[in-house]
Symmetry: C2
C-alpha cells in the first residue's frame, strides 16, 4: 500500500506549475500524508499538512515521494536535488513525471540502488512505439477527447469527472491518461508529450486501443491547445491519434490570452469550436458536444452568468463539472456519440 | 572531401521510401560514386552506377556510406545489418537518419571504433532543447514554410528550388532543413520529427533563429501534413514553432488520398488553403502565397492543365518548380511577405 509525500517546494500554491500535486490530492489514488513546501510549512492544503522537510513528514509514514510540480520543459530545478536525495536517503520510492529521468541520473540511481528504493519515471515512453496502424479507427469503443483553449485549465479534470459520472450511470467507462498526473492517478497510460514526435499519434492510438480493452466509453485526457505556441503539435498528434468521435471543449472563463505567452490571444469560443471541428481528420469527423467551463476564478453569480453566456455564444450545453455538475455534459456527449454500429470511420474497414 | 556510396537496398526504385537517396542525388552536396541495391545491380540512376554490394562500390573510392532509405517509423530492417557491417568493415564512415541511432548500437559502435570510422546519426536531436521562448517572432528574418497535402510530395524540394531562385536574384536566402535528407544536403539543421514531442516547437524556433543568423529570407522545409493521420502533430508543431509569415502549399497533382493510408482522403485545394490559414497562430497569421504542384506523374500537356486548374480553383499562382520554373512562385511569395519593418507579430514586442 502506497502512502504519498508530495514534493511541491516553492509551487504548492501555484495552480499551473503545481497541477500534478493538485490532481493527485483531488483524486487521491493513494493516501497523501504530507506536502513538502518549506515556504508554507505549518499550513495545510485540502486537510493535508504542509511540512518543511522530508524528515518532518516521516511521522505520517510515507512510502513514496511524488514530484508534484511540473516545470516548463519538464526539467528539474537544481535546488530540488537536495530534496530528492533526502527522500531517497530515508528509504522512500520516488515517482516523477519530468523529461529528465531520475533513474538515468547517476547520483540518484546509485543512491536508490544503495537504499533499495525504486525510482519511477512515469513520463518514460514505451520503447517499442511507432506510427499508428489504423487500429485507432476500428477498436469498437466510443471515444471522447477533452480539448481546450490553453494548458492547465482542467482538460484532465473534466475527463476524470465525466468518466466518474458515466460510471455512476453503470456505463463501462474509462479515463485514458495521456500525461504524468493522469498516469499517477489512474496507474497506467503514456505521457504523449514525452514520446519522439514522429510517434505522437502512434502513442495515442496505443492508448485508445488499450482503453477499448478496458471499457466501451473512453474519456481521453487532452493536452495543450491547438493554438498554444509551445505545445500545439502534441495537441494535434493526440487528437488525430486518439481519433475521437466527440470533443468536449474546455475553457477558463474570461481568459483571452494563453497563460505565460503575452500577445498570444485566445479567440472567442465559437471560433474555437469551429477550429477544432475543422481540424478533425476527414476519415473521423468529430463535433464538439459540450463546453466545460472552468469558473474557479469567479464568484457563484458570475459563474452562472459565464456559463449562460458560453451556452448562448456556442449553442452548446455548458457547465462547470467541478463547481456544479457533470450531468448535463455527460448527457450532451452521450447524445452526440454515434451508435455502436456506426463507430467506424467512413471509408475505413476493420481488420 | 566526402564521396558517397548510397545504401538503398530494395528501395532505389521507390519515390517514397527512397526519398533520402533521391534528394541527395538531386542536390549532390558531395559526389555520389555508387548506389547499392542488389536487385537492380548493373542499372544506373541519374548516371550513377547501381551495385550489388559494398565491395563492388570500392573502385569508385567512396569515403562515406549514406543510408538512403527512410522506413516508416525510421527503424532499420534486419537485413540491413549485414550491409552496414560490411560498409564499416571496409573503413567507410556511415551517415544515417533513422530513429534508431547507429552509434547507440553496441555492435556497430564497437566495429566502428575498431575500424576508426565515424557513425553520424543526423536525426539525433540536440541535448538541450526546450519549449520556444518567443524568439521565433522577433528574429528579424522573413520566413516561408512549405506545407502540403501529404508526405513525400516535394515540400523539401520546393523549399530548395525556391531558395535557389531567390539566391539567383541576389537575396540573402537560406534553406532551413528540418528532416534527415535536408540536413544531409545542407549540412546543418534538426530533424524535428525525432525530438521529444514537447520540444517540437522549440526545435523549430531554434532553426529559424539560427536561419536568421545565416540570412534574411528563410525557406523552412515542411514536414508531413496537417491532415496526415500519422504525422500531423509534427506538422503543426513545426508550423507554430517556425512561425512563418507566408506558406507555399505543395500537392501532388491528382492525389485524393494520403499515400499508404486508405480511407484518409485529401480535400480539394481551396479547403487545404483555408485549413492552413485557419491553423496559424493568431499572433502570426500566415497566408498561402502560392501552390507548388508536383506533376511528376503526368505528361507535359496534362501537367499544364493541372497547373491551370489548380490556379483557377485556388486563385493562387501555381507552378511545378522542378518540371517548369520556380520564378512565378518566388514572385508570389515576395509579393506576400511583409516589409522588413512589419515582420514582428502583432502584440509581440521584440526582446
Amino acid at each position: 500500500m502506497k502512502r504519498y509525500l508530495i514534493l511541491a517546494e516553492g509551487f504548492s500554491h501555484d495552480p499551473h506549475y503545481g497541477k500534478t500535486m493538485r490532481g493527485v490530492v483531488r483524486y487521491r489514488p493513494h493516501p497523501v500524508v504530507a506536502i513538502l513546501d518549506s515556504k508554507r510549512a505549518g499550513e495545510t492544503y485540502e486537510g493535508i499538512p504542509i511540512v518543511a522537510s522530508v524528515a518532518d513528514a516521516l511521522p505520517g509514514e510515507p512510502t513514496t515521494a511524488l514530484v508534484g510540480v511540473a516545470v516548463a520543459g519538464g526539467r528539474l530545478p537544481p535546488e530540488w536535488r537536495g530534496i530528492l536525495r533526502s527522500a531517497i536517503e530515508v528509504g522512500l520510492d520516488v515517482e516523477a513525471g519530468m523529461h529528465e529521468f531520475l533513474a538515468d541520473d547517476p547520483e540518484f540511481a546509485d543512491l536508490a540502488a544503495k537504499q533499495g528504493v525504486e525510482l519511477r519515471d512515469v513520463r518514460r515512453p514505451p520503447a517499442d512505439l511507432s506510427v499508428p496502424t489504423g487500429a485507432n479507427l476500428t477498436h469498437g469503443a466510443q471515444v471522447v477527447l477533452t480539448v481546450g483553449s490553453d494548458c492547465a485549465i482542467g482538460k484532465k479534470t473534466v475527463a476524470l469527472e465525466l468518466d466518474r459520472e458515466a460510471r455512476r450511470r453503470g456505463l463501462r467507462s474509462v479515463f485514458v491518461p495521456t500525461g504524468q498526473t493522469g498516469i499517477m492517478i489512474a496507474g497506467w497510460g503514456i505521457a504523449v508529450d514525452a514520446v519522439v514526435a514522429d510517434f505522437l499519434a502512434g502513442a495515442a492510438e496505443r492508448l485508445v486501443v488499450e482503453g477499448a480493452e478496458r471499457g466501451d466509453l473512453l474519456w481521453v485526457e487532452g493536452q495543450g491547445s491547438l493554438l498554444h505556441p509551445q505545445f500545439s503539435g502534441v495537441t494535434l498528434g493526440l487528437y488525430h491519434g486518439s481519433a475521437p468521435h466527440v470533443l468536449v471543449l474546455c475553457h477558463a472563463a474570461g481568459s483571452t490570452e494563453i497563460e505565460g505567452c503575452p500577445g498570444h490571444s485566445i479567440p472567442p469560443l465559437p471560433e474555437l469550436v469551429e477550429l477544432h471541428e475543422r481540424s478533425a481528420l476527414p476519415a473521423r469527423p468529430a463535433k464538439v458536444a459540450a463546453v466545460a467551463l472552468n469558473t474557479s476564478r469567479l464568484g457563484d453569480d458570475e459563474s452562472l452568468q459565464a456559463i449562460e453566456a458560453a451556452e448562448r455564444e456556442t449553442g452548446l450545453p455548458t457547465d462547470d463539472p467541478v463547481r456544479f455538475s457533470p450531468v448535463r455534459l455527460v448527457d450532451a456527449v452521450l447524445d452526440r456519440l454515434p451508435a455502436q454500429d456506426q463507430l467506424e470511420a467512413p471509408g475505413i474497414r476493420a481488420g
